[in-house]
Amino acid sequence: MKDLLRKIRKTGRVAEDPPERPAESAPDALRELGGSVQLRHVDAGSCNGCEVEIASVFGPVYDAERYGARLVASPRHADALVVTGPVTRNMEMALRRTYEAVPAPKGVIALGDCARNCGVFAGAYGVVGAVRDVVPVDVEVPGCPPEPEAIVAALRGLTGR
């Protein structure tokens, strides 16, 4: 415990200073969320590259929680889905149902090139299509995988902070 305490004191604040607030703003339907966006992450068939970046977005350095975004355990608690990867056949129904389970008003973030246009998996036999082919998408974050700064910027667009 003493070691941990010393480490905490030595490390201090890890979070980087927040960059300028991005210009892009949320879709109208989501604007009334007012600085609080709970996210449910759905891996629709990702290679887990995007997941690594999401993990670092909510880690101490980028700390997306300070903008009012948080990952939650149930779509019922969520305001938006973060979908990664191309939508595979096995995950198509799951994605639809997860979307249905979210209470309105709700949004979808398609995270990464695969989620936007299937990326390198385009045309593969197990892939149904991009996320927008299955559920309506409000925000897209390009990149393979997208950089944490880009993800943070997209989230800040939703929370408006």
Binding site: R13, G35, S36, Q38, E65, R66, H77, P103
Partner: protein, 323 residues
């Protein structure tokens, strides 16, 4: 009892309900902020829980197929019991008009009633996670009960009453009692109980995303929108009430006592401020402590609770043999 004392008591009770209702999300915000800072993060700010609640109220409510009135009513019962407890517990005043209606036993049993409502709602959803959460929550509740009653026992022996107002007043009049072994042992035992009841580390992790490790969270997985807002708000109020209970049972200074006339009314703002400070301090300490701990395995929790029971038993024994 003069008329204005009753007035002060009524105003005080109303004020403390309002304080708990408005302040409890802020307490949760403070605790998250403390934790975030210790982890090197910036944190979402103390207002974030209120933003979350405002947002949840603007969302639609969902009734999952196959759920019934129990599922609908549980958040209401949970929040209502927390509100009543906030009116009874001596937070700002020891002269609450409800003080005679519910003693310490009744308050803890009332909070248990809220938990039971939520557990039944979880079972009503017929999901595996709901049943799992309910089962675990009830197990913890059953094992917490002996410690609670034993601590109450220890605290009530020197006073001769289990009424909260009486216990707090007597501590105000004999401050040296706080450092007696009885009081210290009971304080530690009650602290463990509060941690278990409010689902904090090491009994439960309020921030977990992993269903299999959940206790409280697993019960509320089906709630959305305003229902979820009620549940979260009620959880925050329960945390505040229980922390406030510990604070004022063992350090009641600042609370508006049985003064007469306008003195009592004038003492109220000070009492509210003192309470806010104490609870913030306790909450901050709890959050800081959580950084240093991992969640216990479910089946190690009984050992922790048995330990707290032994402390409470020692407190009772001390109250007799050292008196």
């Amino acid at each position: 009892m003069s008329g204005s004392t009753t007035l002060a008591g009524t105003v005080g009770a109303a004020a403390q309900v309002v304080l708990v209702a408005a302040g409890s999300p802020l307490l949760v915000g403070v605790m998250r902020q403390v934790r975030a800072r210790l982890e090197g993060r910036a944190g979402a700010g103390v207002l974030q829980p209120w933003r979350d609640l405002r947002k949840l109220l603007r969302k639609e409510a969902i009734t999952p197929h196959g759920t019934g009135p129990v599922f609908r009513a549980a958040p209401l019962v949970l929040a209502a019991t927390a509100l009543v407890a906030a009116g009874v517990v001596p937070i700002a005043t020891t002269e609450s008009p409800l003080d005679g209606a519910a003693d310490l036993f009744a308050v803890t049993a009332l909070l248990a009633l809220g938990t039971v409502a939520l557990a039944l709602a979880a079972l009503d959803t017929a999901t595996a996670f709901g049943g799992m959460g309910a089962s675990r929550e009830m197990t913890v509740l059953a094992l917490v009960e002996p410690t609670i009653l034993m601590s109450v026992f220890a605290l009530s022996v020197p006073v001769g009453s289990t009424n909260l107002g009486a216990i707090v007043n007597s501590t105000l009049h004999e401050p040296q009692r706080v450092v007696s072994p009885v009081s210290l042992l009971a304080a530690v035992a009650l602290a463990v109980v509060v941690i278990a009841e409010t689902g904090r580390i090491p009994v439960d992790n309020p921030a977990t995303h992993l269903e299999l490790t959940m206790i409280h969270e697993a019960m509320v997985l089906e709630y959305a929108g305003p229902d979820l807002a009620l549940v979260e708000w009620a959880s925050a109020m329960r945390l505040t009430v229980l922390l406030g209970l510990v604070a004022n049972l063992f350090a009641p200074w600042g609370i508006a006592g049985a003064d007469s006339g306008w003195v009592a009314l004038a003492a109220l703002p000070l009492a509210l401020a003192a309470f806010a400070a104490k609870v913030t301090l306790l909450g901050g300490a709890l959050a800081a402590g959580e950084v240093f701990m991992a969640k216990l395995r479910m089946f190690r929790v009984p050992e922790l609770l048995a330990g707290s029971f032994v402390l409470a038993l020692l407190a009772v024994a001390a109250s007799f043999f050292l008196a």
